[in-house]
Amino acid sequence: MKNNKTAQGILLNTIVIVVLFALFQALTAAFGGAGSFKLVLVPSLWQCCYLILLAASLNLVLGFLGQLSLGHCGFMAIGAYTAALLSLACERAGVFTDKSGAVYILIIFACILAAGLLAAVTGLLVGIPALRLKGDYLAIITLGFGMIIVNVINNLPFCGQDGLAQGSAAASLYKTGLGFGSKAKVTYLWIALLVTVLCVTLMFMFVRSKYGRAIRAIRDDEIAASASGINVSSYKVLTFTYSAFFAGVAGALYACATSSLSTASFAFTNAGILNSTFVVVMVVLGGMGSLTGSIVAAVIMFFVNYQIANGSWVAALPPFLNGVFKYPMLVYAVVLIVVIIFRPRGIFGTYEFSLINLAGDIRRARVRRAEAKAERKEAKAHA
């Protein structure tokens, strides 16, 4: 009975994803040449893909395991540089000459996988000592490790070659084979979507297994978790490593979607969207312990960020208001405060969207709302 439901769920989800993708392909065929499609929508989707992976993977550590890590972008930096360097090496070795065909696509996937694996190894090495600490101390040490990673990359001689910059001087990533132009972004968008869907699926499977239960138990009460036979430190390190893997994959997608790669974009001082604290904001906004929330929050935050940077309405505002948007962090802070006041547990709390349970979820929500309404009425009648 239950196994049947699992199979049904997988089938339903696959069908919906395939249909959505087919619809998208049809749209691409119709509008593929249109400037706004190629120059705005597709690059936005690429960005959303790696932001989703970044937020969802941090949620494993922050929301499910309950440990505050402030160095997540460090793992993303490792992923981005690994993918770009591997691609560059393949290009130099003449594995691919033109940027098309099966070999090239295979190389892209190999780069993404290698990025994830190296980030995971680093996650393991960082996690073993760091996760002995808790709370603020863990936050400080992960923040430190994030900075160390960025600085190490900055000072490795081979990290500053063609297409990759040491420090802030930008060079074109295109030379490495990654760093897609706007046309390649349209052609290879399916790779970003496929990788994102796969990774999010893997995270869901992780959370809905003994691993997810164990780490949520650790989050709720570490002493009780170890008294229930859960090996707290090994589950912590495992989750941290797994999370770093997906951050690395996000980094590889970033290397595909960006024109230049410099360590400054991953630094803690970066005021842009790739700041480790910004990712924390995304997770809190969406709901700690809800992957659905992280996905939605990543898209919302991308949209807010995009509007602040590019929206014509910002320029149209009176100068004193316009100035506020020069400091996007102020805007994010306000967004976060508003969410915390009205929905303290984030937009989704711990709710997870599921197609197969959607009907039941809606029914239950209706019943709850009706009950709340009846209660309010009763309270009014009493008054």
Partner: protein, 258 residues
């Protein structure tokens, strides 16, 4: 009476711990045999919970050893104590509050589940079978404690008495040989205490385990425990049958003052 030929399930030899210069527990010896229910009592601050923390690996003893079925557990961590077969509940209830009732029990099965990350990612047959088995086992445990209809509620939403029961159910899920109950009746009304007593007896008969009980409720201790050990200032001052303890002058002195 315990059969002296058998090895005790749980045994301590000269167990002790000092915090700096303070000897919290010293020379603590106890033997508990399978199916026995032993009470550990003492005035406030006598070191009862410290003994529990020593018996579960939360504290590392500064002297002496804990033996389970004759095997010493020195230097092991808490989760290894649990894997060896010692489970406990806490004086101030510690549940996984945000998780549902059934998940609380399932979390305690974690160490016995054999599937790996790959099985979980691909939802293999092994994964599905293990999960199904575990759900069945968890429901069975919840049924013993009449918690089955609350299975999907968040654990923190349960009333106090049922939270206590859930904590015991979770401890039982670890498949242990010795169960340590730290003041299970604290804060309970007489009806709830009576229900709890029934539960304790049921699980002992059903699972054939040994139970060590810390309790302040004297009538409860005198009623259910087969043997009682009394400690004061970390030192054992008496041990024996309930009626012996009740009339022991040192115990009376410790509780009422001299």
């Amino acid at each position: 009476m315990p059969d002296q030929e058998r090895i005790p399930v749980l045994e301590t030899r000269k167990l002790g711990i000092s915090f700096g210069g303070l000897k919290a527990v010293s020379d603590f010896n106890i033997q508990i045999y399978q199916g026995e229910l032993v009470g550990l009592i003492g005035p406030n601050g006598a070191g009862k919970t410290t003994v529990f923390n020593l018996l579960t690996g939360v504290y590392e003893p500064t002297e002496g050893t804990v033996l389970l079925n004759g095997v010493p557990l020195n230097g092991k961590k808490t989760h290894q104590f649990v894997a060896a077969g010692i489970a406990r509940t806490f004086q101030n209830i510690r549940l996984f509050g945000q998780m549902s009732v059934i998940e609380n029990v399932k979390a305690a099965f974690t160490k016995d589940i054999k599937y790996n990350l790959l099985d979980a990612s691909l939802r293999t047959k092994k994964f599905r079978q293990a999960e199904q088995e575990m759900t069945d086992k968890a429901m069975e445990l919840l049924r013993i404690f009449h918690l089955e209809e609350a299975a999907d509620l968040p654990a923190s939403s349960l009333p106090y008495g049922r939270q206590r029961k859930l904590e015991i159910a979770r401890a039982l899920a670890t498949d242990m040989k010795v169960l340590l109950l730290d003041e299970p009746a604290a804060g309970m009304n007489p009806t709830e205490t009576a229900e709890l007593l029934e539960c304790i007896n049921t699980i002992r008969d059903r699972f054939g385990i040994a139970i060590l009980l810390i309790e302040h409720d004297m009538s409860l201790v005198m009623n259910v425990c087969e043997r009682i050990q009394v400690i004061d200032y970390g030192v054992t001052i008496a041990s024996g049958l309930p009626e012996e303890i009740a009339s022991n002058p040192r115990v009376i002195a410790a509780y009422l003052g001299e």
